[in-house]
Amino acid sequence: MQHAGNLLAPDPELASHYAREFYGRRQESVRLWVVPRAAIRDVDDPDLLQPPLDRSFKKPVGYSAEIKRKLAAARARVAGEQP
């Protein structure tokens, strides 16, 4: 199952019909799950999903790309703040 997108509908039955129109009209789907947004729980904590058990936290490879990216962002912010 993949996230296809979202839609706005006044009730669950119409939501199902709209979903078929948007995400199944050309037989591109074999199954659709249509849920109210409020029913979705978003679990995105990296500590839970991707704990650093590869020990990258004690190797240069665990930091080099991150530092490069964050340094570029910090420099851009400072440049943007110049009068």
Partner: protein
């Protein structure tokens, strides 16, 4: 075997870049000088874990908690390596620990100060470790070969600590204005001790550690190197240095700055820093609580009846 011809030949050897290895003959003065130097370094690694250890249980993410734990482990490992080097020069480990805990020997100034926020952890791991590595990279050329070899391993591990520290600081400065303010405030407090860390300028002619190449760069040179590398890196991310006199001479490249407070440095390293006594007391307590482990491991095996 301390006859003056032998001694003079030795000093010519080390002054011209010659190395001395463990077990080789050396004059008593040289042996003592190296041992004291390495002992203070070992003490500093052991005491240096305490400021950061305070934050293991308060780290903001699991990755940071693991990184801090690994860093503390590394530093204690460095202390063990360095006590080993110093022991070979004639002072037993127990005596070195006893002297440290009794306040008779010193450890570096920066480890006598408190940490007040998570930003302190980033500043310490980045800039305090950076200042230390400037000195430690030079020590890889020490005339005393066992110390030089140990420094190569220590420098490699410290380089990862610095990356970790820089990542913590960058994460915060890229965050909210409150996080940026927290980092700036921490930097303002740590800048003084950082500038004092390499010690006051010494007269090369009177500095035996320098003459005998136990260390190869004088304090002033180390501080200049630190400033040249790190002031630009601090400023480029929008942080300010709290010294209005800090500037680099465009011609010579030499940094000018407000003279560090050498009285503060002396008071701190002689045990009068804000956290000196509390941290030594913790070490004493820890030493007592782990006595049973030492006695068990080091005791003579008992024959079962």
């Amino acid at each position: 075997m301390n006859d003056s011809a032998h001694v003079e030949a030795f000093y010519r050897h080390v002054a011209s870049g010659g190395k001395v290895d463990v077990g080789e003959w050396m004059p008593d003065d040289y042996r003592t000088a190296v041992r004291r130097f390495v002992e203070m370094h070992a003490n500093s690694e052991l005491m240096g874990v305490l400021p950061e250890r305070e934050w293991i249980l308060r780290a903001p993410t699991l990755k940071r908690k693991l990184a801090l734990t690994a860093k503390v482990q590394d530093e204690v490992g460095h202390a063990q390596l360095l006590y080993r080097v110093a022991e070979d020069l004639g002072k037993p480990r127990e005596a070195m620990l006893a002297d440290l805990l009794a306040g008779r020997t010193k450890f570096h100034n920066v480890f006598h100060y408190p940490t007040r926020s998570w930003a302190d952890v980033g500043i310490i791991a980045w800039l305090v470790d950076a200042a230390a590595i400037v000195a430690q990279q030079a020590l890889r050329e020490s005339s005393y070969a066992p110390y030089a070899r140990t420094m190569k391993k220590i420098c490699w591990e410290e380089s990862v600590h610095i990356m970790h520290g820089r990542d913590v600081v960058l994460t915060m400065v890229n965050g909210t204005s409150e996080q940026r303010a927290m980092v700036q405030e921490a930097l303002n407090r740590w800048w003084g001790p950082l500038m004092q860390m390499h010690g006051p300028p010494t007269e090369p002619a009177k500095d035996r550690d320098l003459a005998w190449r136990i260390k190869n760069k004088d304090n002033d040179t180390l501080r200049q190197e630190f400033l040249s590398t790190y002031v630009p890196r601090i400023r480029e991310i929008g942080l300010e240095l709290p010294d209005p006199e800090l500037r680099q001479d465009p011609g010579s490249g030499r940094w000018h700055y407000t003279e560090p407070d050498w009285k503060e440095l002396y008071a701190v390293v002689t045990g009068h820093g804000p956290k000196s006594q509390e941290r030594l007391a913790f070490r004493r307590l820890n030493y007592e609580q782990t006595r049973w482990v030492r006695e068990t491991v080091l005791s003579e095996p008992k024959v079962a009846a």
